[in-house]
Symmetry: C2
Subunit: 215 residues, 2 copies
């Protein structure tokens, strides 16, 4: 899911929310429209020519904005694909877990909840992103770095909850492992066209890794 940072968040929150969030000024509405125009022009071109063969100038032209404007909306070409609002969802999901619950279960559930939500709303887009993730090294690289960011955030949260040090090896290793397994699971799921139930898959994967580690 390329757990990642949020976009150049204009006021705050996800595009979806903002669209539904009623009466924005004309300026804000235009910005949102431009953002969507750029992104959809880009994805169209990516589909037709591939990611790397598509230049920012082409995207800008297709979206009817200047290249400067492109970079005002997306700091890098990668951000077109990367930016999502997964992190804050995961954070609140994790905060909502009951206190006594085993760590791995908390993390797993905190990830599955938002994942379901996003999949319900934008399944096809997620699949497309995962395809780009698979095929474009630059995207993969960027997504992995963003995943590390998410991991650090999660360590902080779990540190609060458990009293363990956020930069200690124990938490860091745990979070890194869960994130790695999750990311691999989502990738696996996407490779198979997104047919299976992601939550089940993740539970299986974590269970199986647990058994191997315990040996």
């Amino acid at each position: 899911m390329t757990p990642g940072n949020s976009p150049t968040r204009t006021p705050a929150g996800s595009e979806l929310e903002e669209l539904l969030a009623a009466p924005l000024g004309l300026r804000e509405r235009k910005k949102l429209k431009t953002r969507r125009a750029i992104r959809s022009a880009a994805f169209g071109l990516f589909r037709d020519q591939g990611y790397e063969a598509t230049t920012v100038d082409q995207i800008a032209a297709a979206a009817d904005v200047s290249p400067s404007t492109f970079f005002r909306y997306f700091p890098t070409k990668e951000d077109l694909v990367i930016s999502d609002d997964y992190d804050p969802l995961m954070e609140s999901g994790l905060r909502a877990r009951p206190a006594g619950e085993p760590l791995v279960a908390s993390v797993r559930e905190a990830m599955v909840g938002p994942l379901r939500q996003i999949l319900a709303a934008e399944r096809d887009e997620v699949l497309l992103r995962m395809q780009l993730y698979r095929e474009v090294p630059a995207i993969r690289a960027r997504a992995l770095v963003e995943m590390q960011r998410s991991s650090a955030m999660m360590c902080e949260l779990l540190a609060e909850r458990t009293g363990l040090p956020a930069d200690g090896l124990e938490l860091r290793a745990l979070v890194a492992a869960v994130m790695a397994v999750s990311s691999e699971t989502v990738q696996f799921w996407a490779e198979r066209g997104g047919e299976a139930d992601l939550a089940d898959l993740l539970a299986d994967a974590i269970g199986s890794v647990g058994r191997s580690f315990a040996q």
Copy 2:
């Protein structure tokens, strides 16, 4: 350790080996010398000015070669930092493990062995690399991608050994988890100046993750 691919391997094998491998022609010796000159010029500049503030032109000038030549030796600036010969070592290490051994133990030992070797020979360089890994996003991104390559290789090996499918979720999740924990451990170790015993640290981390997953 940025488990990664090998450099633009001139004939074959590591720089170290090649240096000791006796009577190369003048051409080969010069190439090796150039390669080392470029890398050491680069690391000098990185130390003084930082990675991103150092341009390829500067490196080329400092190493007394043309920019074109730089790119002949290192396809990207990142490759200066990334390329090592860890993968083949790990591969043969893994092949050498006894048949009945639990998977995680095999993988752990296969990683620790070469790690020790490399640390004994180039501890300072490893620490410097890890510092760049921490501080430079481009390096981190690249190293993470290379780690995925190593993971895929490892899946293949373990598939041979176990009969499980190399692209199945079970193996992939397991390998991803072990790699993530290992990478986090090496990072942790490097952050603390490389004082602790890496093998112990790794065993602890894997043990602790195993306990959390088992709950």
